[in-house]
Point group: C2
DNA sequence: TATTGTTATACTCTATAACTATA
DNA sequence: TATAGTTATAGAGTATAACAATA
């Protein structure tokens, strides 16, 4: 019961630790929710990002998600094999690939959105209301200040 | 710019995503800070936990940290090889191991505490003050409700 | 039978360096 | 020379099943 003479706080009160536990819990709820679709968190995020930014090149999408371009390749390979998304040779710069959902991918993303809200609702319930989700996101944003996302949020109607 | 017709929010506004990014950022700051000690986050947490709960058995410490007992073994092996912590055969139950810091481990933990506060200060600065760290921890606790930690916090001054 | 610690194994995510083909 | 995508590889962390020793 914290009887030591060190200056360390208890692990259970340390931000790093709580962040890790919370992230784990959230991803496990995600995994449970999306196992029917055989979809991992990273794959979900790629599909969602392409849906929001169709035609953007591969590196841009990857960076927007904080995924190293080297690690993005296998992710995109898998989505392409499943027929959900596709790479198209860049017209102006033939080194680059522009990313798009397939028709099937578009339908798939609609199914994702349904499952997503179930998952989201559970998290909001745990947090005790949407206001607390917004507070949590605002605090995480402070922590993340300097890590610039793709500029997509400003245009949002901000329903959340 | 969020031009799609799906019901999905932008990835960059999704809690799961922000939690992952924040956790990554915090652990990277940790890694930079503790590379001098050649200490990974998981090893740090084990040493800190043993310092607070000397003599507890292996499974109890592991569960308190949310680490599966199977994964705890290699972690403890490494700390034992470095002479920082040790297993002792349980007196009453000879299946179990009680965990302790060595003398060197105790000194090592004091060095950890110093580096720790530098790391912590950087996070608090990003968050904009200790009040925000407490708010963040309180919100993460709500998310984690039901995941019981080792009962060490009640004795804390409870700044939060 | 159940529990403690252990081994073996696999999966996810992350990180770096080096290659290729274009620019 | 620089960039886009790729390959290969390594390191963390996590998860499950099965085993030996002990209860």
């Amino acid at each position: 019961m914290c009887v030591d003479r060190t200056l360390l706080p208890c692990m259970t009160s340390i931000l790093d630790h709580k962040l890790r536990r919370a992230q784990l819990l959230v991803f496990q709820d995600f995994a449970g929710t999306f196992s029917k679709l055989r979809l991992r968190p990273a794959e979900f995020s790629v599909l969602a990002m392409i849906a929001k930014h169709p035609g953007q090149k591969q590196t841009t999408i990857a960076e927007g998600l904080g995924i190293k371009r080297a690690n993005f390749v296998a992710l995109m390979d898998s989505l392409e094999r499943r027929g959900l998304a596709e790479r198209r040779k860049g017209e102006h710069d033939r080194r680059s690939h522009s990313l798009h959902l397939t028709e099937e991918g578009t339908r798939f993303v609609e199914g994702m959105a349904q499952l997503w809200s179930e998952h989201e609702d559970r998290l909001v319930a745990r947090l005790g209301g949407v206001e607390n989700r917004e507070r949590l996101i605002a605090l995480l944003d402070k922590l993340l200040c300097g890590a610039a996302p793709l500029a997509d949020d400003p245009d949002q109607p901000q329903a959340h």
